[in-house]
């Protein structure tokens, strides 16, 4: 009989998981981020949580650890627990579509932050850094800094993420116009600092004469920098990152890397929380894709920036 009661209770819990009791309680916002192993995403998630709190909502941060299956679990838990909105930093442009769709089908609005999913309907709105346009600007700087000639390498991010290719393509849309600039290596380090250091070590062994490296994010730029220091080539190789992370901003200031592109994670996170707030208040017309401009940060304009944003 005891077992029977437990089974019945579990069944009722499973079947009843779609019910939400929101009467008198603050609305809940789930913040699902691709990884908390990168300070940039930690800042993004914490900024979203802070803004949600300011707006009068409770929130919880879920770490997908760059694993779409884990992300699926988070979405299921968020739906089952009756969260009212999801602020979402996806792990995979294609693979995350189904998760966002499931929430949307359950009438839970989804607002993507920074990373994109390949759908116009799965999310309520997607707030995205304009990575391509920023990397066009980085490409122009790269061409100028390398004086239009030399060999260089590229370290890519996660290959299933649209940001990886938007950044790479924006950069190449400029640099490939200059035939004396030759890319001798292109390899993924999955947006990871340690992997980038290993990749860069290999690249430097195979191509000791390279004079530049374009990295798809700041963590990889810092890893590449460590490798150039270890190889005694820090003065030879010009390094370009993307994000505006704290250590990269300091590295630009100190002349260790040549440039980064400042995304504005606080702005993106606050925008997502504000759109969720608008949704709760009845707004239903949202731009499907909302590009956020990205600034190129160099030693010339570094005084205008701090980690993750502009100085006030």
């Amino acid at each position: 009989m005891k077992h029977l009661n437990i089974c019945a209770l579990l069944l009722l819990l499973c079947l009843g998981c779609g019910n939400r009791n929101k009467d008198g309680q603050p609305k809940q916002i789930a913040i699902v981020v691709s990884t908390l192993n990168n300070p940039w995403f930690v800042f993004l998630a914490e900024s979203a949580a802070e803004k949600a709190k300011t707006l009068g909502y409770t929130s919880k941060i879920f770490d997908s650890q760059n694993n779409t299956a884990l992300e699926t679990d988070h979405f299921e838990n968020a739906i089952a627990a009756g969260y009212d909105a999801i602020l979402f930093n996806p792990t995979d442009a294609e693979g995350s579509v189904v998760n966002a769709t499931k929430a949307t089908d359950a009438d839970i609005p989804v607002f993507c932050m920074d990373r994109e999913i390949n759908s116009r309907t799965a999310a309520t709105s997607q707030i995205l850094s304009d990575s391509y346009a920023a990397c066009v600007q980085l490409g122009k700087l790269f061409v100028s800094d390398l004086d239009r000639s030399g060999t260089y390498a590229e370290i890519l991010g996660i290959v299933s993420d649209n940001n990886t290719w938007n950044r790479s393509k924006g950069f190449h849309s400029v640099v490939d116009n200059f035939p004396n600039l030759k890319m001798v290596a292109q390899q993924s380090a999955e947006f990871d600092r340690n992997k980038a250091m290993e990749v860069m070590e290999s690249i430097l062994q195979a191509h000791p004469d390279i004079t530049g490296v374009f990295c798809g994010n700041d963590a990889m730029a810092m890893g590449a920098y460590q490798a150039t220091v270890a190889a005694g080539k820090a003065d030879q190789v010009k390094i370009y990152g993307f994000d505006g992370a704290e250590d990269a901003v300091n590295a630009v200031k100190d002349g260790k890397i040549n440039a980064t592109a400042m995304q504005f994670p606080k702005l993106i996170a606050e925008k997502a929380a504000t759109l969720a707030d608008a949704y709760f208040k009845g707004e239903r017309n949202f731009r499907k894709k909302l590009p956020i401009a990205v600034d190129v940060v160099t030693p010339k304009n570094i005084d205008q920036y701090i980690a993750y944003g502009k100085k006030n």
Binding site: L11, C14, V98, S119, D130, Y132, N162, K169, A293
Partner: protein
């Protein structure tokens, strides 16, 4: 015995519910099919050769723009520029004419009616100015930003392919009429150093021959 039967039935039912809620299968082909249906080549070609020629209301006379920027940059940006995002980089669709005063491997230099020099890109056709300057293409129309950016690259490719013969045949002294796109930084709008990305060109010398 009956209790055991109910217990097992409930367990099976519970298992089924858990399995049903744990597995979601969607064909990647089905997801990708949405993007495959989009013809980037046709879209870019249609924009460049059909939409732009009919969109003269989106163009600003280059000389007028220069004067507007000198008088009040902020107002000029608000009135004439477009961009997909709210950053400092903005794009203008311009038209004008000038006499060719010099050429190099990357640019053609013109002198306009006010004896001011302007720079027309002949080799370095890149960036998103040609796509964004008229404000006619929205990222909201695309399933993903990669497609949106592919359109930009295709427009640049078509410009280069279409206008190369005209640009190569230009000689110093020729009079050129152009429609083009420019990119300016709101914080530091230096028009004299900005290359115009040409979208349409007419060598008036050829018309007079």
């Amino acid at each position: 015995m009956a209790k055991r039967g109910i217990k097992y039935t409930l367990l099976v039912l519970l298992g089924a519910v858990l399995v049903y809620n744990s597995i979601y299968i969607k064909s990647l082909q089905a997801v990708k099919a949405a993007n495959k249906g989009f013809d980037v080549d046709s879209y870019a070609s249609n924009y460049l050769f059909k939409t732009i020629p009919k969109s003269t209301a989106a163009f600003t006379d280059f000389t007028s723009l220069r004067n507007a920027l000198r008088a009040n940059p902020s107002e000029a940006f608000d009135a004439y520029s477009h961009a997909p995002s709210d950053g400092d980089i903005r794009y203008f669709m311009v038209n004008g004419s000038g006499v060719v005063v010099s050429k190099d491997s990357g640019y053609v230099w013109l002198e306009d009616s006010e004896k001011q020099h302007l720079k027309l890109a002949s080799q370095y056709i890149y960036g998103t100015a040609a796509r964004d300057a008229a404000g006619l293409i929205s990222v909201d129309s695309f399933d993903n930003t990669m497609l949106f950016n592919e359109v930009s690259e295709k427009i640049n490719f078509l410009i280069k392919k279409q206008l190369s013969p005209t640009l190569q045949q230009l000689a110093v002294g020729d009079t050129l009429r152009f429609t083009g796109a420019i990119e300016l930084n709101r914080r530091d709008p230096v028009l004299a150093e900005t290359a115009i990305i040409p979208l349409r060109l007419e060598n008036l010398q050829n018309e007079n021959k």
